[in-house]
């Protein structure tokens, strides 16, 4: 099993801001690595370094065995980049955008035209082939972006927040396309702030926060890593909410989260559920819903980063 991408100790500063504070990564050939983190965590900077667009201040990285700084040109021959920042020309039509990339990659006029038609058909853009990209909808635009990064049949694909800002239907479309690419053997580095996206698409997830990797593993491993299950309680009466939340806090292993009438908290103690039921009974508080389940990636993320809104915790 070989790694298509290896990064060690990547550091990048912009003035006083540290975008990357020593990031290590490894992406197995043919797999999908999800780089997960909130806005400003350093995901995009990491992708830009691995795509040869930004030089790291320290550390090094290889892509397909080539060094991203010293052998940048070779790296560029292997990769395709789609992202918030790598974009198509809005004044050119869909076809022209793809022909432009094809010609730059050394394809003949005829081959680049054929490849453009093939990709536009595959991404259901044939009807818009001769319209300027500036007139495309958000979803069409992303599909064209992705098509542009596939013109040269790259073995490695960087997808920087491919579905940010898309409606649910376009998002599902995008997920299907990415799954097809992975089935064809393409190695994918995906950045996302959506946990469900990483959960659905990624074989392995790297959680990044403030420019540092804070956890690595499969979605199952990450859920287990936090060692907590999620306890959710919905009181029958809204007026009981604070009282119930206070009882939950007594058995919880972490911060209690209250949203609307739903109270959620991580628990590690196996007896927590029974304990809570007894307390609720003693206090005469009725609940409409009471459940213990594996944590969502959302909760895992909150546990790992500690980004919990404190004002949600009842006094």
């Amino acid at each position: 099993m070989t790694n298509a991408i290896v990064a060690e100790g990547l550091v990048k500063r912009f003035g006083d801001t540290t975008a990357l504070a020593g990031v290590d990564l490894a992406v197995r050939t043919g797999s999908v690595l999800g780089l997960l983190g909130p806005n400003g965590a350093g995901k995009t900077t990491a992708v830009r370094v691995l795509a040869t667009l930004t030089r790291p201040d320290r550390g090094h990285a290889t892509v397909g065995g080539y060094d991203v700084v010293r052998q940048a040109h070779q790296v560029r021959r292997l990769i395709g980049l789609t992202g918030q920042y790598a974009s198509v020309d809005e004044t050119l039509t869909g076809t022209e955008n793809l022909i432009l990339i094809g010609r730059l990659l050394g394809q003949t006029r005829r081959d680049s035209r054929a490849r453009a038609a093939e990709l536009l058909g595959r991404f259901r853009l044939d009807d818009a082939a001769d319209k300027p990209a500036g007139k495309y909808s958000g979803g069409m635009r992303r599909r064209l972006d992705l098509a542009a990064s596939l013109v040269g049949r790259p073995r490695l694909l960087y997808l920087d927040e491919p579905t940010t800002g898309l409606d649910p239907r376009s998002r599902n479309d995008m997920w299907d396309i990415i799954r097809d690419l992975v089935a064809d053997g393409v190695t994918v580095l995906l950045t996302t702030q959506y946990l469900d996206e990483a959960d659905v698409l990624a074989d392995e997830i790297v959680v990044i926060d403030h420019g540092k990797v804070i956890a690595t593993g499969t979605s199952v491993e990450l859920k287990a890593r936090t060692g907590a299950q999620a306890l959710t309680v919905r009181p029958q009466l809204d007026t009981d909410r604070d009282a119930v939340a206070a009882l939950v806090a007594m058995v919880a292993s972490g911060a209690v989260d209250v949203r609307g009438s739903l109270i959620t908290a991580p628990v590690t103690d196996p007896g927590a559920l029974a304990h809570l039921v007894r307390r609720l009974d003693e206090s005469g508080l009725a609940v409409a819903e009471l459940a213990l389940r594996s944590p969502s990636l959302d909760e895992v993320f909150l546990t790992l980063t500690g980004h919990v809104a404190l004002e949600d915790v009842p006094a």
Binding site: H73, R77, I79, Y85, S87, I101, V186
Partner: protein, 265 residues
């Protein structure tokens, strides 16, 4: 989809670089196909200048409109040339802010080709604008008093100067945060430089302190060179001074632009 195993070469050869440049120049010029009015669009202002200056000031400055065209048309051509160089900076800045540049930079192409492709395309547009202005001038009564070779020399000189002056625009395009700021900068810089010259009115009608600057102003020497080449008169001096100015601009702004380019990307 099949993964194509390539034996990557270490770098881009000059021939491939030129091919990349041609492709990227095509990218800029093919836009005209979708929006043919762009060709008229960027010529509207100079065309208005030609018509208005000729009929409003022509009589007062030169005694007749056809006499003024000999003097004023070269001035307006030079002014338009300088304004048009700002298009390069605007377009580069748009590519930077919209992310097109990042996509290009992630491709295995010559590092210099996006810049070179843009400049080549803008030179083609400049040649069109010069043709249009001379054509309209002839409709209004302008006549070339020399020969076809001199007209070719006019194109050669103007485009050479444009390529040198474009580096100012490239530098501004690399430094500012939004494309509109390039235009504002261009207007603030070029407007006074072109008016404080003999582009529109003869130098000897101006106060002495202004004349000192006007005589060395690159707009003056370039306009004089074009006048000489199109209507006869002194050629060697103004052409040499124009080329000297072009060399100075190139020597200052090309290295600064490359520095700003490397810093920005």
């Amino acid at each position: 989809m099949t993964a194509v195993a390539v034996a990557p070469e270490a770098r881009v050869g000059p021939v491939q670089g030129l091919r990349n440049t041609a492709t990227l120049a095509w990218r800029t010029l093919v836009q005209i196909k979708h929006n043919p009015f762009e060709l008229i669009d960027f010529s509207i202002q100079p065309l208005m200048f030609v018509v208005l200056f000729t009929y409003v000031f022509g009589g007062a400055i030169s005694g007749s409109t056809s006499e003024y065209l000999k003097f004023g048309l070269p001035g307006i051509i030079v002014q338009n040339l300088l304004f048009a160089t700002m298009n390069t900076g605007v377009a580069l800045n748009t590519d930077l802010t919209k992310g097109v540049f990042d996509r290009l930079r992630s491709l295995p192409i010559a590092r210099w080709s996006p810049l070179a492709g843009r400049i080549v395309a803008d030179v083609v547009k400049q040649a069109w604008a010069i043709t249009l202005l001379i054509g309209v001038g002839m409709i209004l009564g302008f006549r070339v008093g020399t020969g076809p070779l001199s007209v070719l020399a006019v194109f050669g000189l103007l485009l050479t100067f444009a390529m040198a002056a474009t580096w100012i625009s490239v530098l501004v395009g690399m430094l500012v945060s939004a494309p509109e700021k390039v235009q504002i900068f261009g207007f603030v810089l070029i407007f006074p430089i072109t008016f404080a010259s003999n582009a529109f009115a003869p130098t000897d009608t101006m106060p002495g302190w202004l004349q000192a600057w006007v005589k060395v102003n690159p707009v003056t020497v370039l306009a004089d060179a074009v006048r000489g080449l199109l209507s006869g008169g002194a050629v060697a001096g103004p052409v040499a001074q124009s080329l000297l100015w072009a060399a100075i601009l190139l020597a200052i702004f090309a290295p600064l632009s490359v520095w700003a380019f490397k810093r920005r990307v």
